[in-house]
């Protein structure tokens, strides 16, 4: 793996009829984060190391190791997301709108090398890979 390895980014955006301050609480208060995401020991402090903990499954301990990378109250939150030997970065952006908030989640750092081009045509592995995603992903 080289430092220049290109990566891919996942973006999910949604309009929410709630003010940024309220959404910010759900994104930054440990007990509230647990209600919609996972158990955690998050603290809204840059440099704070913490973990998310899901229910372990065979071959995955359910732990996501993270560090707070950026905090701008009510507008931007970023933390690293390390699990299964892969580290990515999750960034939340809150933009006030007329009716509430535009919430954007960006996760970046996915390997983007040629593995995608192997898929499909040559190997009939869909089922196998589906099974492995459940083992390797085990995210729920």
């Amino acid at each position: 793996m080289t430092a220049a390895a290109p990566t891919r980014t996942l973006v999910i955006e949604r309009e929410m009829p709630h003010p940024p301050e309220k959404i910010w609480r759900a994104l930054t208060q440990g007990a509230l984060i647990e209600e919609w995401l996972m158990k955690n020991d998050f603290q809204p402090v840059v440099g704070h190391r913490f973990s998310f903990r899901a229910t372990p499954v065979p071959n995955w301990d359910g732990v996501i190791e993270s560090e707070v990378l950026a905090i701008e109250p009510h507008s931007r939150l970023s933390y690293s997301w390390g699990t299964m030997g892969m580290v990515s970065v999750v960034t939340w952006t809150l933009t006030p709108t007329r009716g509430g908030t535009h919430l954007r989640m960006e996760q970046t750092g996915f390997p983007s090398e040629e593995s995608a081009s192997y898929k499909g045509a040559t190997y009939g592995w869909t089922k196998f890979i589906g099974n492995m995603e459940r083992v390797a992903g085990g995210l729920e």
Partner: protein, 107 residues
């Protein structure tokens, strides 16, 4: 990363090796004897398959007396798994739960 991906694909291109790897992923650590008993091929053949899987880092081994135990190391699958679609579903479900939580929260 590319070389690692190729090793993983080569190792899993063989249906017997794929079956051994899936079996270890589901059932945890197994001895070579136990794997041979269900693989339907000879022990030397199973050992050879295991060494290919090991080269691709898909399995790890541990000696215990005269027995060698193997276990799956599914992290080696990372180059293969479509993380974008795995996490796409994960976060969309998360957004759904977040919206439900926001409806319950005080303003």
């Amino acid at each position: 990363m590319l070389a690692a991906t190729e090793n993983v694909f080569k190792a899993l291109a063989d249906p017997t090796r794929r079956a051994i790897f899936e079996h270890l992923s589901r059932n945890g650590e197994q001895t070579v004897h136990a794997l041979t008993a269900r693989a339907g091929v000879s022990q030397p053949a199973v050992s050879k398959h295991l060494s290919v899987l090991k080269l691709a880092r898909l399995v790890r081994d541990r000696r215990d007396g005269r027995e060698t135990h193997y276990r799956a190391h599914p992290q080696a699958l990372a180059p293969l798994v479509d993380w974008m679609s795995v996490y796409g579903k994960f976060w969309r479900d998360g957004f759904d739960r977040l919206e439900k939580l926001l409806q319950r929260m005080d303003p």
